[in-house]
Symmetry: C2
Subunit: 480 residues, 2 copies
């Protein structure tokens, strides 16, 4: 006899019955699902056929399953008059969650809700991506490479896609050898892998404040500490502060978002970029640039990558297609003259490779042209949009509210009157089915208590105006 | 003036020219590629239109680009009589590589080669996967969810796919609540994320020996130490050794491959599984089970998951579609009653999510049936195959060679006479265009010097017989 079935029930047939009951109770088997045949259950549970028959008759008797002639046993649909039993509560995690973790969990959960006005995520509407073009290219790849599902593209990734990305780096002032490009599962994967290559647990990493909460969390997961320097409106990352910190703190790396910082939307000036690169690379501190939003400039000029000012090869520039073409593809990259071999190695040992299909499709998309034309359209939309959002906030929010004027990207950053708690506004707004992001998650020190971040990626509409009006009312209720 | 262009060249136009030259030298711009228009280059490099014209005329004069009427400037195809200049060597990494790293790099590189008989990877031929079925389902999803590229499925992942995976866990004797399933980018991602959740850097993790080299490397990347227990032919993981180690060493987790261990192919008995689960969970040590090969049993019964013997919820079972359906999809899972919330959170902060398309396609594939029929076919093939491979090794290899008799999986494990160095055989074989894996990479202590691993996943053929004959000759040359 085997112990493949739980060991509490006293009789063999009861054990088999319990196995099926558990699958029904957890929803693994649902109403009208066919349950395993007597023969296959007998094999799987290592019991005789007659034991399985006995179990199934028992389950039939208690009304959980029903036999259908010539077809087998099925899960019986519930009697509508019977109130279903409550489901088992998942076991609690053994790690106590900090308040920040709880807030981040609520933020993450809010991203899964389809019943809210989603001003919480930093992305555009799915309908705005070049879906038809991409889907046609998928069909092309299915035709030309019918075995793609069985093929692995090992890190550093598809050579043609890497060449296309290298080519685009030229437009950011940083001509790139395609051999220095490593394809990753989005920009966060690129940043995490880069950090794993250049840091050891316990090391300290320089970040700006405010910065993307996911970045702070990724740094914490790697066992690293952070030190923050301010990102200032109109200037961006404070180069003097970087110099001061670098003098007094032993830094293992910096992770910076000079082009349209998330959440503040700030563009760091070229002078500040040059200064920061000189300071840090002069001390052999690698810089990991998160250039996720660089292509979404509202003006005519693509902002410069920090790599344009680097002669050491210590600047790693990370990007992705998530904010521009395909959020659901999960493809990004790290451009890393000094570290590409190690990043490719780390990628292999962390998750082997990136999906074959998306790499082939994106290589074709970039190579076939049209990306710049598409970008112009989406940038115009975002630029117009952000103005609408800013105007609406100005109209509806309480006196004392301050708003960024981003020149690129998908978010606006709002400072509320000091009496308004952004986290509380976030919770109340969610109850009114409006998603925003609370300011406190954008700093390791939980600063920005009276700030919120709002996406401006959805096409402007009366419904959004009403949502902002409602947010403004909720904020006014809490101010002064 | 801007410093978006390198700051060494003295004149403005030379800087622009240098930018284009670099792109041509690195292959970013190739023969007949159109180079940026004068206007867009002027914007990107923040120089005047006339400076760009001067730069382009210079590049034309030195023969790098050519003007084509009414069309713009193009990279000039090289004169075939001119020998091209050598390409710049990529900068060397700053971290000294250990011998093990070097050997692993050669192993990884060998996986990218298409000019060898690939007995090195542990997977089947791309043509054997259910490609047509999957491609048809991709077409279905393109039709039904045309905006999938713009849609993000947040961790824990697509609910229907999670339900299907939970359902299959029942066949491994471990009924599962779909809420406990987290979708990941393959099994290695699931294992890495699980380790991040249950361990802190510096902790010690129990593994078996031999075990998959990628696992050892992933553990090292996380700053963890390993302690090894033997995996013995016919028995599998040594439960007594586990008990002894657990008594004397403070373990943070165990990562075990009880079902067709890679590379040894051993199936751990149910008694040993029950014993190990009792020992470790009794001491609150989480077990991460790598059940990548469980579905590829040659016999009629699907081996048991260690979760079948667990009542604590501390056993995490990881799997993927890589070895069965779609290596190139990069989709796997962790089934973790106690830790699913934290693993989903870690997934979000490491790489946000898994690709939308593959999740939707796989959910449909499992739901529509046929997976078991497909599995029967591939299992029969692998079972017959492994016999052919074993026979051929017996025929061609030197006296004193020992071979495993796996009852599932895709690899056979070969002990060579003590005088034969597996790593040397690996290098010589590669020079003869035959890929194998050297034994020393399958243990943290570089044991198994005279072992090799050979894939038996390719359909049997005369060419493979010849390759094994050649390997045998190379081994004979080194033995005695």
């Amino acid at each position: 006899m085997s112990a493949q079935v739980p060991s509490q029930a006293p009789l063999l047939y009861e054990r088999v019955a319990h196995l099926v009951e558990t699958q029904i109770a957890t929803g693994t088997l649902r109403a009208n699902d066919r349950i395993p045949s007597v023969r296959s259950m007998s094999r799987a549970a290592k019991v005789s056929v007659s034991t399985v028959v006995q179990a199934y008759v028992h389950l039939e008797n208690i009304g959980l399953i029903e036999a259908r002639p010539q077809s087998g046993f099925y899960v019986r649909p519930p009697d509508p008059k019977v109130v279903p039993e409550p489901r088992a509560k998942p076991l609690r995690s053994r790690r106590p969650a900090s308040i920040a973790t709880e807030m981040l969990d609520i933020c993450r959960e809010a991203l899964t809700r389809s019943d809210i006005v989603p001003l919480n995520g930093a992305f555009t509407s799915p309908a705005l991506y070049p879906n038809q073009r991409l889907n046609n290219l998928v069909r092309e790849v299915l035709r030309d490479r019918p075995h793609h599902a069985g093929e692995l593209i090992m890190p550093p990734g598809d050579p043609e896609l890497r060449r296309q990305i290298a080519k685009r780096m030229g437009l950011a002032g940083a001509p790139t050898d395609p051999e220095h490009v490593v394809i990753t599962s989005g920009a966060m994967d690129a940043i995490t892998l880069s950090l794993r290559v250049v840091c050891q647990p316990g090391d300290t990493v320089l970040v700006e404040s405010p910065t993307y909460f996911g970045l702070l969390q990724a740094i914490e997961y790697l066992g690293l500490k952070v030190v923050e320097v301010p990102n200032r409106p109109g200037v961006g990352i404070d180069a003097d502060a970087v110099r001061q910190v670098a003098r007094t703190t032993r830094l293992a790396a910096a992770v910076l978002m000079p082009n349209f910082n998330n959440p503040a939307g700030t563009l760091t000036t070229d002078d500040a970029k040059r200064d920061i690169v000189a300071t840090l690379t002069g001390m052999e501190v690698p810089i990991i640039e998160d250039d996720l939003y660089g292509d979404l400039h509202y003006g005519s000029v693509r902002p410069t990558s920090m790599r344009a000012f680097d002669e050491s090869g210590l600047v790693i520039s990370c990007g992705s297609v998530s904010k521009t073409i395909a959020l659901g593809y999960r493809i990004g990259w790290a451009v890393a003259p000094q570290f590409h071999t190690e990043i490719a190695r780390a990628k292999f040992f962390a998750s082997v490779a990136c999906p074959t299909l998306q790499q082939l499709v994106l290589a074709r998309y970039y190579a076939s042209g049209g990306y710049d034309r598409y970008l112009r359209r989406i940038r115009t939309m975002l630029s117009t949009n952000s103005q609408h959002f800013i105007d609406a906030v100005a109209r509806h929010f309480p006196a004392g509210t301050r708003i960024t004027r981003p020149t690129g990207g998908i978010v606006i950053w709002i400072e509320l009157p000091p009496s308004v708690d952004g986290a509380e506004l976030f919770r109340t707004a969610l109850a009114s089915r409006i998603g925003i992001a609370p300011g406190i998650v954008f700093s390791a020190k939980a600063d920005y208590r009276n700030y919120i971040r709002m996406s401006c990626g959805l096409p402007w509409s009366a419904a959004i105006d009403r949502a902002i009006e409602k947010l403004g009312k909720l904020a006014k209720d809490r101010s002064g």
